[in-house]
Point group: C2
Chain length 353, copies 2
Amino acid sequence: MSELRYCPVKQRWTIIAPERKMRPDEFLAPASPPPATSPSPFRYGYEAQTPPEILLLHREGPAHSGPSWQVRVIPNKFPVLRVEGEVSREGVGLFDRLTGIGAHEVIVENPDPAKELADLEVADVVQVLRAYRARLQDLRRDHRLQYILIFKNKGVAAGATLPHPHSQLIATPIIPTFVKQELRSAREHYARKERCLFCDIIRDEQRLGERVAIETDRFIALEPFAASFPFETWILPRRHSHDFAASSDDELRRLAEILRDFLRRVRVILNDPPYNLVLHTAPSFHPRPAHPDYWGTIEHDYHWHLEIIPRITRISGFEWGSGLTVNPTPPEEAAQFLQDADPERDNNAQDRG
Amino acid sequence: MSELRYCPVKQRWTIIAPERKMRPDEFLAPASPPPATSPSPFRYGYEAQTPPEILLLHREGPAHSGPSWQVRVIPNKFPVLRVEGEVSREGVGLFDRLTGIGAHEVIVENPDPAKELADLEVADVVQVLRAYRARLQDLRRDHRLQYILIFKNKGVAAGATLPHPHSQLIATPIIPTFVKQELRSAREHYARKERCLFCDIIRDEQRLGERVAIETDRFIALEPFAASFPFETWILPRRHSHDFAASSDDELRRLAEILRDFLRRVRVILNDPPYNLVLHTAPSFHPRPAHPDYWGTIEHDYHWHLEIIPRITRISGFEWGSGLTVNPTPPEEAAQFLQDADPERDNNAQDRG
């Protein structure tokens, strides 16, 4: 059984997951993903090889002869946290320990192992986002879980262990440190100004223009002023909204459009880079007013968004020791490259296989 | 000229270093280190190929016929921050910008490209630590610099771009976020209890024993209870001390012993893993009492230490999005492996070349 441990020095949580344990000699040859020729366990027709699905989404529109599902959500076979059991909280000297309760799911984005998000029809990207929304809505009813993190690792350098395009969901009985930091920043800004921090940033960036990569009437993709990584990009709804799970179907369609457009541009510029995508949205847990983490104004102060980080630079000891990263590409230049890129040049990318 | 930028959402600094800029097509084939056969620019006899040295340390003891220096500190040829100029602070909308003033130095650990820290005589490891101390003492006199971070990247996966064993120093006009977090944690603990947080942790771990890897009469190497990474190890002086730069020669010798012992054990267990080593010590900058970051009690509340992280697991989008890491090796097991390892088994490691 895994557990969560809190460090009073770093003020950070770690999941100690011995069920995923590797013995020292297993570290020696780091697990590489199976060669592209080995068949994907997530592919259509082999559903029996994975745990039974939590959710199936079908392709919309008239009947067709393709696979019977478009998106499939299954439990992770090697979960870092498990759904069964009670959350027990315990002190160990100066540290904290929690039982490893949570959820760990895999969102298989489409039945074809060779089709990346950027290759899908917009309607099929919408189905992936609908799966995100449905899982958030469902797991929020579990009051043991304080945060639900949805993310995607594409490529080995980004942490993917299977090449079949998929996202993951990890729900935790705590609010992770970086998430809490963001929530606090937003709350403090709102407390001083009665304005949303993210709305303020969007307005500034629209005025200046130099860090805006793509803008539609509903969404904006921008390179943050203090981007930690080259081509780090945030995609935010232009209209204030604290919760991705409250998005309408129409909003998901517009998000799918800008997301696919961005992914195609970055693929042209950086030649199909590994990347991480992380959904930042409101937590499930709303502390009461007496709690030091009370954020009674979250509807007003937080603003959900996607963060995408192409993984093209290495993280060294300097970054880990300091939290200070070195970014060789000014966000203004990254924005210019993205503005100039032609997403259509990438049209036949799906033929790459 | 590079600059530092602060993000009000993440509350983190980034160095935007366009002088290190890579164009998108340069990212495509990530720079790999030169093959082991290409000669090291840091080797003995080729000093003219690097900038003039800031510091040379010679081997101690009777005259000998080897190289005339043991440790050589030089400016980084591609610095992320520069010494020349004034620190100017500027607001840009909601963000902050600082000129990229600082220092970026390379500490060449020995004249032989094939000799890792673990291969050196204890007396030669002492010289490396003396170089750390001397550079800290010297740069502290520059009041523009608030923090001096000394670290080492060993191996490509740990961020090293040259195989010749070396450490680096980056001095910044701000206190990096993770460092500030640690200083705050220590100060808050002291404010409540009038005890050092780290001394408390050392006492707990000594009592329990299960996470102690190596202990000598002066130092302790322990696996922190909430270790974020497999075999993450902290080496702390057992006697309270907030500042590495105040260490005596005798303390540096005892530190060199335990550090070399640890590095040999971890090399045996993990087969010469890439690793990062980071020195955590007191900042140069002491804010005045009215400053929100005032820590008038730093001599009492902070405790310098080394952190060593073997880089054997990947960082995925989950970690970047949350600050929550997944560690498959419980620290208790890592400690057991380290206790059982025979550092002498590694004796002929230097023959590997």
